[in-house]
Subunit: 297 residues, 2 copies
Amino acid sequence: MDQRIAEKFRSLQDHICSELEKLDGKSKFQEDIWVREEGGGGRTRTLANGNVIQKGGVAFSEVFGPVTELMAKQLNLSGTSFYATGVSIVLHPENPFYPIIHMNVRYFEMDTGVFWFGGGIDLTPHYIVPEHAGIFHRSLKEVCDKYNDSFYPKFKNWADDYFYLPHRDETRGVGGIFYDHLTDESGLSKDQLIEFALDLGRLFPKVYSEQVKLNRNKSFNDDNISWRNHRRGRYVEFNLVHDRGTKFGLLSGGRTESILLSMPPQAEWTYCHQPEKDSAEEKTLNHLEKNIDWVNC
Amino acid sequence: MDQRIAEKFRSLQDHICSELEKLDGKSKFQEDIWVREEGGGGRTRTLANGNVIQKGGVAFSEVFGPVTELMAKQLNLSGTSFYATGVSIVLHPENPFYPIIHMNVRYFEMDTGVFWFGGGIDLTPHYIVPEHAGIFHRSLKEVCDKYNDSFYPKFKNWADDYFYLPHRDETRGVGGIFYDHLTDESGLSKDQLIEFALDLGRLFPKVYSEQVKLNRNKSFNDDNISWRNHRRGRYVEFNLVHDRGTKFGLLSGGRTESILLSMPPQAEWTYCHQPEKDSAEEKTLNHLEKNIDWVNC
């Protein structure tokens, strides 16, 4: 088990929490340490009712043990025992003009010696501003390009396909990058793959602070809040119906409160909810599409 | 295709909507007629912001066509074409002391001539009062007993098992009855099985009106509303993560807005949300268990 990586992920969690507390300027993270019966455990940190973040979670976990039948089937694993470590984040801001953001970096290793990395960052603005999505995507591309020119285009399309609600024919937001099963067959050494994950992790508080600053002090009214809550409803739908990590975690007996950190503080549903014609809300819906060239926005 | 049943289900929808409008005393149902590309369609009725019902749906559908690969696999069907009709209801009241209620009756037929019925009614109080749950269960038992003495105990246990959130180790509410694949092998003729479904349908507005009257004019404060919204969050979790009908509907390209009629108007999530010791909220949590003998409460 390559426990160096867990140690680096722990430091990454510390760094991100510290940066997010600076951004928020009011609330502090609370920590829960938990132990997994079958092996390992985690360090779940949550922040609530801040100046910026209404509900946010930054979770570290390091779990290991025998591969159950469910895991073998759902994750298509061969081997009898596994080791996994990662950092997962979802932030729900109060201001509807600030976006929801999600990040995950993870490492997986089997007793057979096979290992791989996965991860991603994606942005879900309640109100899409194409120029701001462009800034976000260019930052992701810059980090990806340091490692491999093919990463950004490949991982950007992967995010478009992954963060998608087929039952709504909507993307979750403006996407970002998503990757899985990344190994040394990518041309990068294991140390470089670790560095890639950490670079993305360190980028996370920077890009989020930037997105907040772009909309800083934008005032909002009850209609904006209602729209935010309806978009949060879609976020719930994606995470509970489609997100593989959430579904697998809940079905396999993971720690429910850590898995459902991604849930928003509130959400709303209205039958056949439709924004007004030519409104900012309608423009947002029109941007919830795959294959938008955000880098050039 | 036994279209008599669809005709009876349409009348049942009319009857239930009319009774619920009387109960509500303020809002009226709005109707959407929709057509399914592959065959059939439906009549979705919704009511919002009433005196009693904050968000409710009473949906009729009659759909048919070829059995897709997904259907064959998920529903374990043999045959090349199917016919299905049913009425589905979920009501979310505004007053936290009124319960959420759900009902479904459905009929399924294959081109091979095989047919079966399914359905159920279950109650999800935000605040559980055992005596009120007892009244509800005794009404269900009375209707079941008219048809077969074994129905209530069997279908009550089935509801306990079905309306259950394993990731919370909680039942959704105080249960009710649930049944599926009910055929003439039950000892009842097809006509009797139809009558059983209709009897349950006609019972629905009666038992719900009764539950409302038991708590009529009970005033509530912001804490009660917050608790209601957290319980609604659990309702969302059950429906999106576990409910077979919802999952199958969304994955198979059903009409999203009709399937998600069950979503509450609002829901809330708080990390590790816990009620105060010995509060009414904590007592409710302690009743979210299988195998409670509600009939004798």
